[in-house]
């Protein structure tokens, strides 16, 4: 005997079908919903900071992760960890921003944190004043010819 005010089987039947499960993200680093855009405003990820605590981070500064893989208990956010994962291979600041779909300024702040904590190592590009190293030009010409 059904209790009088309990939901009837019909009620359940009308329940809308469950939406299909969201597709698996293609990469573990993919923590943004492409369609909706970032779920968190960039300045939240950086706790409101707009300048990195250390370093200048040119767009072509090369970054590589060093040391052991950190765990999440030491004050690093998911974006920090995503950067460390990406930088297992050498990667420029521009590439990091492109892969994570984050503004350059945000990535710079987070790289400053990682540099502070010793999780990344950097290679800054040649400053403009040092554009007189002929080896650079020769290497670039050779590299282009080999394409």
């Amino acid at each position: 005997m059904m209790p009088p005010d309990g939901p009837s089987p019909d009620f359940w039947a009308e329940d809308p079908p469950r939406p299909p499960a969201p597709p698996e993200p293609d990469a573990a680093e993919r923590w943004l919903d492409e369609g909706a855009g970032p779920m968190v405003r960039p300045y939240v990820m950086t706790s409101g900071r707009t300048e990195p605590s250390r370093g200048t981070f040119d767009l072509i500064t090369l970054v590589v992760a060093v040391g052991v893989e950190p765990d999440t208990t030491i004050g690093l956010g998911p974006e920090h960890l995503a950067i460390i994962r990406l930088c297992q291979t050498v990667m420029s600041v521009a590439e990091i921003t492109g892969h994570l779909d984050l503004p350059v300024a945000t990535v710079r702040v987070m790289l400053g944190d990682l540099l502070d904590k010793g999780f990344v190592s950097l290679q800054e590009p040649e400053p403009e004043a040092d554009m007189h190293d002929i080896r650079i030009y020769k290497a670039v010409i050779d590299g282009l010819r080999a394409l």
Partner: protein, 209 residues
């Protein structure tokens, strides 16, 4: 070179420091729709990526934002590609937005660039004036590459040189941004020009530039 604190050692005792390559960059500039992204994509070894910069206070004085202060932050996107040169160097190509109001961004990209390619379209030659102006003023070595669109009237290179009021030493060439050999040629010519411009070619390169 800045590196993380060296105390972070691997269990083996040595710092897991690989010798990092040095990155160099070339800027691909020019008006809207002239083929910058195409050129970047043609020569890049990876799928071109896009980096975004928020146009906030740094745009003040560049963009007139009076009356629209509450407008959402403008985003400027830039496409770039990468070419690995043996182990020591990595070349990045940045396609910069051509409009004058993005100059704040150009400064960042042009700083330390090996040189620049200004792409031009003869149907809208004036679109590349701001780029030419910019690199001339900044003294960044550049070449002008006329992207040959189908249906566009072919001009003599000397005419284009004159129309752009270029100095006689700025190389002007035709190119097809969709073809690798054509883009390669433009980039190699640019690097040779940059060497010459910076007074490096005499002892190292035969005078074929």
């Amino acid at each position: 070179m800045v590196s993380g604190p060296s105390r972070r050692n691997t269990p083996a005792g040595g710092v897991r420091a690989r010798r990092l390559p040095t990155a160099v960059k070339i800027v691909i500039a020019g008006g809207f729709g002239v083929g910058k992204t195409t050129m970047v994509g043609t020569v890049s070894e990876t799928q071109p990526l896009r980096t975004e910069e928020l146009l906030t206070d740094r745009g003040v004085g560049v963009d007139d934002v009076e009356g629209v202060e509450r407008k959402d932050t403008t985003t400027v996107a830039m496409d770039f590609g990468r070419i690995t040169m043996r182990d020591e160097y990595v070349l990045y190509l940045f396609g910069t937005p051509g409009q004058k109001r993005f100059w704040f961004m150009w400064d960042e990209v042009a700083l330390g660039a090996l040189g620049a390619v200004v792409l031009a379209d003869t149907r809208r030659l004036s679109d590349c004036f701001p780029s030419v102006d910019y690199f001339e003023r900044r003294k960044t070595p550049f070449v002008v590459a006329v992207n040959c669109f189908e249906g566009a009237k072919r001009y003599d290179l000397a005419e284009i040189q004159m129309a752009l009021n270029l100095g006689p030493r700025v190389p002007v060439m035709l190119c097809d941004a969709r073809r690798l050999d054509s883009c390669k040629e433009v980039l190699i010519d640019l690097v040779l020009h940059a060497m010459k411009y910076r007074g490096l070619s005499e002892e190292a390169q035969p005078q074929n530039a």
